[in-house]
Amino acid sequence: MGSGFRRFSGKADMRRFQTVRAYLFLLPFLVFFILVTAFPVLYGGYLSLFGQHGAKMWFVGLSNFKSAFTDPLFWQGFGMPVFLLLVQVPGMIVIAIFIGLLYERIRHSVVYRLIFYLPYAMPGVVAGIVWSYIFSQSMSPLVPLWNLFGVAKPIFITLSSVRWILLIIILWEWTGYTSLIVYSTLVSIPKELGEAAEMDGATWFKVAYYIKVPLLRNTVFVLFIFNSIGAMQVFNEPRMLNILLNLPQNYTPAMYLYNQAFAYGSFTYSIAMGLVLAAVIFVISFFFMRQSMKELDVHA
């Protein structure tokens, strides 16, 4: 009886001991987490309820959100992310799968893996500067290349071509990286699976399409979500293109937010739009959250 009681109190003590220890180890992280993320999110929620002009602020309830939902400039800004979502993200994943399969078939694949990965090491801002110069009217080295391919008019960066140039930049930055993620999944697929099929006379394409690609499902799923989140927030590259070109202030939602706050001084309105953007992203991320919780098994 006595020992049973002791065991019980021992367990509770143990838990208290563990809780104190755990929070001591968590403390530095939590301080920064509260200072830099948790508090600003809540503070942002509070500030979004105010109208503001210069330093003057007054309570307006949800009217900033009402403005955001009916602001055509804000929603037009989503044109670019949606374009990336529909064209760049699926296109890149398909190309990355192809490259991932390619790594298995070529000599010196380790060299190619490094070369294709290198663009990821280049800061987005630098990539934006370099590519925009490469497509600039004054410096483009590509003019002879266009002639070679029989393109009558060389392609320069203009308001109408800018989205395609942005596509080229973002594909350049992320395709190699993505292909490595695909490749690491492919490597984990037992070799015998493909070899047996090839013995039976299946072509390379059939082995890839019917055996390997289906096994990439989870990877593709996660890639799709990450890239969608990235597409919603695109800022650096278009901002760099902006140096050579006068893009509209609402070219992407992030650019509109930035311009509203710092060019027009509408801080609280910008914060409200940031929260709307966060909500859009949260809906997309929700599925990823559930996935990663399963993998990490924090339920234990």
Partner: protein, 273 residues
């Protein structure tokens, strides 16, 4: 597989390599050109070669502003990544080792907040830092950079690979918890620590948006923001200096990635750009 197939694959690989290498090559050859040579729009390095002129030019820009940017970048990225990684390792250790009150709730909360995009937090943070008088100082960059939420997530994954017996054995020997963490835990997950450290160094180095919001004083800029502001006294762009600055901004990262590639394998935890 047929030989003709292999050749076809290799041709595709070479064409792709050309696309991926093009901007690197163009940036390097551009660093040897003055503005007139840049305007000729060729793929051939400049003759006469202006590499040294450009290098000296960028360091002499506005009385050595570039040196400030370079040191700032190393300071912000260095302090931010070391402190952030250490704190993330501690937090990951807590999640691995202890069954504590609020464990699951906290983990979900942290991951949930981590998904709030920077665009929603940076503006309120700007106003918060204004009242702290952090704006235009290194603090406004270092303090947010120390927070590494995905680092905690990665660390939790690495800590989960450490067997329970290792901790138990240390406990038996009467080792204190802090020593278990420092002397037994950290060395065991050193590859993971290195990965988180390098990834966060690169992420801070590349963080343009934060610097753009927080800093207005040229001397406090990191490279990533500084190079976008290079212009002549009358406000015109100076392409050759911008390109040299861009080259020097990318160089440390390219060195890191080519020499420490094994620690920098892609992690499925979002972007560093």
């Amino acid at each position: 597989m047929k030989a003709s197939h292999r050749v076809r694959f290799e041709v595709v690989a070479i064409l792709l390599a050309l696309y991926f290498l093009l901007p690197f090559y163009w940036l390097v050859q551009s660093s040897t050109k003055d503005i007139q040579q840049l305007m000729q729009g060729t793929f051939v390095p400049g003759f006469p070669n202006h590499f040294i002129d450009n290098l000296l030019g960028v360091f002499a820009y506005n009385h050595g502003l570039f040196i400030h940017w370079l040191l700032n970048s190393f300071l912000y990225s260095g302090v931010g990544s070391v402190a952030g990684t250490f704190f993330a390792a501690m937090a990951g250790f807590a999640f691995r080792r202890y069954r504590f009150f609020g464990r699951k709730f906290l983990f979900i909360l942290i991951l949930g907040f981590a998904l709030v995009p920077g665009f929603a937090t940076t503006l309120p943070l700007f106003i918060e830092f204004k009242s702290f008088h952090f704006l235009n100082t290194g603090w406004s960059i270092i303090v947010p950079s120390v927070l590494n939420v995905f680092g905690v997530y990665l660390m939790a994954v690495y800590w989960n690979q450490v067997p329970e017996e290792m901790f138990d054995a240390a406990m038996m020997d009467g080792t204190k918890e802090l020593s278990i963490f420092l002397r037994i835990g950290l060395p065991t997950i050193l590859p993971g620590v290195t990965t988180v450290l390098l990834l966060s160094f690169v992420a801070i180095w590349n963080n343009y948006f934060l610097a753009l919001i927080m800093l207005n004083r040229y001397e406090a800029f990191p490279l990533i923001l500084g190079i976008t502001t290079i212009s002549s006294a009358s406000g015109w762009p100076v392409y050759n200096l911008t390109l040299m600055g861009a080259f020097l901004t990318a160089l440390p990262l390219l060195i890191l990635f080519t020499t420490l590639q094994r620690f920098l394998a892609p992690q499925l935890t979002g972007s560093i750009k």
